[in-house]
């Protein structure tokens, strides 16, 4: 029976809460809370992607597009029109959902590699639009001067404040997603993954559920994009290219895509590997990254979250 235990979640929440203080006392990791903000932003996307790919079994290689839509909607509306960032965030999510429906309705009828290519193509097209529509998007030089976030006069202007904002949202999304997974809708999604024929024979409206979960993942990605734009105060298209979509895929594959935990572990790992730990290898960085990915794929088919299961297996023997 799929039941998600509460203790690890509480433990993880505590860890997130106290981490900035731990990091603050050790100079060598003083910048880690800053990295954790990005890890959190990626977690939002991978949580949605985990539901879409790991649970419902639908591949998306265009998730960076929704991330970009959120970021660009936020940036354009705040910079060119001076609207409130929170309002823009919501508009971003609405536009992302509308695009997700538009793309999802025809795409999600496709299967396997065809779906992968369709979403990949969608992602590339959106990237080209970001790059070409200079008047709105600033082209490759991007948009700068995006305002930060504030709520009732409280400014999220330090790393610490933004850290808690992002991780609060990550937890909200995490809990929401876990609740969905344990509900009727979650069962329907998992059922679709295994057999569309059997699911629809049980009365599951397969295409509706696929689109719903696609929209959900798009909304989370869009939210992440807005948070990114308002934190960095700058965006440019290369952040949202297809290699980022592949990086997201790598995140949930490394972490393990059959559990939402995997999305979080993967986002963490890839963020720290690529922003910090692998710098050590300089020119070999890329190769080491590839080798880690390959080793995990070979030896940990269920990703890093599969390790406890493997260890348990040893003990049982």
């Amino acid at each position: 029976m799929l039941r998600i235990r509460k203790l690890p979640i509480i433990g993880f929440a505590l860890f997130i809460i106290v981490f900035p203080w731990i990091a603050g006392t050790i100079p060598a990791i003083g910048n880690y809370p800053d990295l954790m903000i990005f890890a959190g932003i990626y977690c939002l996307i991978t949580i949605g992607l985990s539901l879409l790919m790991g649970y419902a079994g639908q591949i998306s290689l265009g998730q960076a597009a929704f991330y970009g839509i959120g970021a660009y909607v936020s940036a354009i509306l705040t910079v060119h029109f001076g609207l409130s960032p929170w309002f823009c965030m919501v508009i971003g999510m609405l536009i992302a959902s509308a695009v997700a429906v538009l793309v999802g309705v025809p795409s999600l009828k496709l299967r396997g590699h065809y779906l992968a290519m369709a979403t990949l193509a969608f992602g590339i097209i959106v990237f080209i639009v970001f790059n070409e529509e200079i008047e709105w998007t600033g082209g490759p030089d991007g948009i700068s001067g995006i305002p930060g976030l504030s709520l009732f006069g409280f400014e999220f202007d330090t790393v610490l404040k933004y850290y808690y904002l992002v991780w609060f949202l990550v937890f909200a999304a995490f809990i929401f997603t876990i609740n969905v997974i344990q509900s009727r809708s979650g069962r329907a999604l998992r059922a679709i993954h295994i057999s569309e024929a059997a699911s629809s024979a049980m009365g599951v409206n397969v295409s509706r559920f696929k689109i719903m979960v696609f929209v959900y993942s798009a909304i989370l990605a869009s939210l992440a994009g807005s948070l990114y734009a308002h934190y960095l105060n700058f965006i440019n298209p290369s952040t949202f290219d297809l290699f980022f979509s592949i990086k997201l895929l790598i995140m949930i594959a490394l972490g393990g895509m059959h559990e939402v935990w995997g999305a979080i572990v993967g986002a963490f790992l890839v963020t720290f590997l690529s922003f910090e730990w692998l710098h050590f290898f300089e020119e070999f960085e890329v190769i080491v990254y590839g080798i880690i990915l390959l080793l995990v794929t070979i030896f940990l088919p269920h990703g890093l979250v599969g390790i406890p299961g493997i260890v348990k297996g040893w003990f049982r023997r």
Partner: protein
């Protein structure tokens, strides 16, 4: 079980952080740099990193700065805005450097301007856009930010004024879709009317395209007097080769200043002959007249770089040379005091660098005019030559 896992993850964080964390060094001047050493803009960051390391090495071998060693901390942002920002923050908050060089790309430089402004640290960008140093809202220069490369508008002016001299009025432009190409395109379009130039065709291509025959075919159809190509990397060579293959050599060909590496002449396999390009001094040391103010530094830089790395100098490496030497001059004069370094840089005059003689002021944090910064170069017998 999961708690245990979290514990392991947390321990990993701490452990790796401590091991990889930078060693504390005493009695040094720390200068930070953020270059796009790998990734989509490695053609910028790679020579920049090599140049900066070389210059720092030379300085330390010669006894350092006022007896103190120069410690250069270089981070690779891989052309990614997030990494670039994180690296700059890390240089400021953790490495506590005196000044920062880079980033290599315009967009990424613009992205970190607010951080430099807020943290009050001098930042000498190695990217071209005027937006890096100019606050578009007020028209003023950002207090803490400088840049050493010529603005793209300068290259466009150099090209257009040469055209004017040659009596060329009808042209076609073909540009890359990267930041470099797009910025050049907008300057070319903006400045054309001032020089009485009509743009008959405006084409572009992606950074990984394998063939631009289609775009050039269209240009051939409109029969311009000259073509300006503005891009970077191997594609600018492919354009040239396609142009030659299409038998368009009766049309004058201008390359942007991104063409400034001899490797490009080689790769063009003869197709570069007769091509005009505006270049900074460091790209063409041998073509410079003996009395040229930059002759000495350019020749020396080329000799040392080629000697050390066994590859020709790229003009982009010259930006790192300029940026680092400016900062070193400042350190020599005022020591590691961020505010004093800034003031020193803002008042620096007559600095003969690789890309021009810099004269900074409160109204000009770039310190260059195009007549000084660019020489119009033509490719003759497989080598650079002054165009006039």
């Amino acid at each position: 079980m999961r708690m245990k896992k979290l514990l392991i993850v947390a321990t990993c964080f701490l452990f790796i952080g401590i091991v990889v964390g930078p060693a504390l060094a005493a009695d040094t001047y720390k200068v930070g740099a953020v270059f796009s050493v790998t990734g989509r803009a490695s053609f910028l960051g790679d020579p920049e990193k090599k140049t900066a390391l070389m210059v720092a090495d030379e300085i330390n071998k010669a006894g350092g700065i006022n007896g103190k060693k120069l410690e250069l901390i270089i981070y690779d942002d891989e052309g990614d805005a997030t990494k670039s920002t994180l690296a700059v923050k890390k240089l400021i908050n953790q490495d506590k450097v005196c000044a920062i060089l880079g980033p290599s790309l315009s967009g990424l430089s613009i992205a970190v301007v607010p951080i430099a402004q807020q943290s009050e640290i001098p930042l000498v960008s190695a990217a071209a856009s005027y937006k890096i140093v100019t606050d578009e809202k007020t028209g003023k220069q950002y207090k803490w930010v400088f840049k050493v490369p010529q603005s793209d508008s300068m290259a466009a002016e150099a090209i257009y004024s040469h055209m004017k001299k040659e009596g060329i009025t009808k042209i076609a432009i073909i540009t890359g879709t990267t930041g470099f190409g797009k910025s050049g395109r907008s300057e070319l379009l903006r400045l054309a009317p001032q020089y009485g130039i009509t743009i008959l065709a405006d084409e572009s291509y992606g950074p990984r395209d394998t063939d631009m025959t289609a775009q050039l075919t269209k240009i051939k159809g409109v029969a311009p007097q000259a073509i300006v190509n503005w891009s970077i990397g191997p594609t600018q060579v492919t354009v040239l080769r396609n142009y030659r293959d299409l038998g368009m050599t009766n049309i004058v060909f201008y390359q942007s200043h991104g063409f400034g590496s001899k490797k490009n002449i080689e790769l063009a396999a003869g197709a570069a002959e007769g091509v005009y390009t505006p270049l900074g001094a460091c790209a063409t040391p041998d073509a410079l007249p003996a009395n040229h103010p930059q002759k000495k530094v350019a020749v020396e830089y080329n000799k040392n770089y080629t000697g050390k790395y066994n590859e020709p100098v790229s003009t982009f490496g010259g930006h790192a040379w300029d940026a680092l030497n400016l900062v070193v001059d400042a350190l020599k004069a005022v020591g590691c005091d961020r505010a004093k370094i800034r003031d020193y840089l803002e008042n620096k005059k007559g600095f003969a660098g690789q890309h021009g003689v810099f004269n900074f002021s409160a109204n000009d944090h770039n310190g260059l005019v195009w007549q000084d910064a660019f020489n119009m170069i033509v490719v003759k017998n497989g080598d650079w030559a002054m165009a006039d």
